[in-house]
Subunit: 258 residues, 2 copies
C-alpha cells in the first residue's frame, strides 16, 4: 500500500508532528511505502492566486476554475501543485494530520485543498463522487483540539467536532475517496501548570499509541456514508424517499434538533 | 457607524469584488465611515508561522497561542496583524465577503482568522463570548456559491450552506460579536454558454441590488442565536434544560436527523 501523510503544523516538534511521524513509522514497519508531505517545511503557498498561472486562458480576469482547467489540460499546473497531485494519485491511503484552529483547518491546509484539488486535474463535471479520480482510495482526517473532549462532543460548547469536519469529508468524497471515520484527540492544550505537565505528557503519549494502533488496522475503521447518485434529483435535491446521510442535509427545512 | 469590509477574492473584477464595492458605496452614501480590506491586494500572509514572531517566549518550540499572547502583551505583534486588529476594534460592523471554495473560506481568509484573532489581543480565557472584546459590534458573512441554490439548500447535495458557515459564526461569537444572518448568493457560476451569459448577468445584478438593499437596513437582519454562559456546565457541556441553539450541539448523541 502507498501511504501519503499530509501534515499541517508550523512546529515539527509539536504533538501533530509526533502523530505524523509515529503513523509513518508504523506504516513503514508494515511494509508499506510512505510519503510525508509537511506543508510548512515545504513552504506550501496557501493562496490560490493568478501568479501561479503564467499561462492564462483569460489574462484580463482571473477565474480559479477556468485557469485550473486550462493549465491542467496543458500540463502547465504549478510544480508544487503537480507534485501534490502526483502524490495523491500515487497513494492508496491519504492521512491528513492537523490541529483545529478556529473550528477548522489551518489556512495552509485549506490552501492545499483550494490549489491541489484542481478542476481538470483531480475532478471534472463528469468525474466526481463515484466516478471520481480518487475512487478506490481511502482518506482519513487525524485532528487535534485544544479544548477538552467534553467541549468537542455532541453536547459540547465548541460544537460537535465530527460535524465541523463534515465539509472536509464531503470534499474528499467529491474526489471519489472512501472516507474513514476521523481520529480526534481533544484536550491537547491541557497541562497549563507545571504540576499538570507530567500527567498531560502521559495522556498525550497514550493518545498517540491508541492512534497508531487504530491506524494499524484500517479495515476495522468505519466508513463514513454518503448519499449516492440515485438519491439526488436533477436539481441536486434529495429525493423524497432517500435516506439522509449527513447532518448537513435533511428533508425538512424546519427540522428542530432539540 | 464605522464599517469594515474584508474581501477575500483573488480577482478585483470578480462578482465578490463587485459586492464589496457596492456595499462600501452604499454605506458611504449613508454617511458611515468605511474601510475595505482586500486581503489579496494587501498580500496578506495566510500561514500562521514562527517567522511572524521575532520576539519569542520559547525560541526552541513554536506554539501559536503562547507566542501570540507573548507578542500581544509586548505590543510586538506583526504590523499586518496589528493593523487588522486595529481595524476590527475601530469597526462597529464587520462584513466578510468571500466565495465558498471547497465548502469553506478561501485559505487567505482562514489565515486572517488564524493570525488576527490572536490570543491576548482579541480574546483571553476571561474575555470571550458575552465578555468578548468585540462585544457590541455586529458581524456578517456575505458568501457566494458556484452551485445552484437548490444544491446549497437544506435538502441539497452540497449540504446546507448555513450549517457550513456555523463554525465561522461561532468564531465571531467567541470574540463577542453579535452575528447577523448571512447573505448567500448561489449559482454565481451559471451561464456557461454564451446564450446564458446575458441572463446570468441580469441574475447577478439583481442579486447584488438585493444584497445592498438588505445591508442598507442592518436592524432588519436577524441575529443568530447562541447559547449563553448559563447554558453550560463546568465541563462546558450543555445543561439538561438548556435550549439547543446550534445544529452542531444536541442533547442526544444518537439523534437521528431523518
Amino acid at each position: 500500500m502507498n501511504v501519503l501523510i499530509v501534515l499541517a503544523h508550523p512546529e515539527p516538534q509539536s504533538f501533530n508532528g509526533a502523530l505524523a511521524r509515529a503513523a509513518a513509522k508504523m506504516f513503514l514497519s508494515q511494509g508499506h511505502a510512505v510519503r510525508v508531505c509537511d506543508l510548512y517545511a515545504e513552504k506550501f503557498a496557501a493562496d490560490e492566486h493568478a501568479r501561479h498561472f503564467p499561462q492564462r486562458k483569460n489574462p484580463a480576469r482571473f477565474d480559479v476554475q477556468t485557469e485550473q482547467r486550462f493549465s491542467a489540460e496543458r500540463e502547465a499546473l504549478p510544480a508544487d501543485v503537480r507534485q501534490q497531485i502526483d502524490d495523491l494519485l500515487w497513494a492508496d491511503f491519504v492521512l491528513l494530520q492537523f490541529p483545529l484552529w478556529w473550528f477548522g483547518m489551518p489556512a495552509i491546509l485549506k490552501g492545499w485543498m483550494d490549489r491541489v484539488f484542481a478542476y481538470g486535474a483531480l475532478y471534472t463535471g463528469s468525474r466526481r463522487f463515484h466516478l471520481g479520480m480518487c475512487r478506490g482510495k481511502r482518506a482519513m482526517l487525524s485532528v487535534t483540539a485544544g479544548s477538552p473532549a467534553q467541549a468537542c462532543a455532541h453536547d459540547g460548547q465548541e460544537g460537535d467536532t465530527r460535524l465541523i469536519l463534515w465539509p472536509i469529508h464531503y470534499a474528499l468524497h467529491y474526489l471519489g475517496f472512501t472516507v474513514l471515520e476521523p481520529g480526534l484527540i481533544a484536550g491537547v492544550r491541557g497541562g497549563y501548570s507545571e504540576s499538570e505537565g507530567a500527567a498531560q505528557d502521559r495522556y498525550l503519549n497514550a493518545q498517540l499509541q491508541a492512534h497508531v494502533a487504530r491506524l494499524a488496522d484500517l479495515a476495522a475503521i468505519g466508513v463514513i456514508p454518503f448519499n449516492t447518485a440515485d438519491d439526488w434529483d436533477e436539481q441536486r435535491k434529495l429525493r423524497p424517499n432517500a435516506r439522509v446521510h449527513s447532518p448537513f442535509i435533511r428533508h425538512s427545512e424546519n427540522l428542530q434538533l432539540d
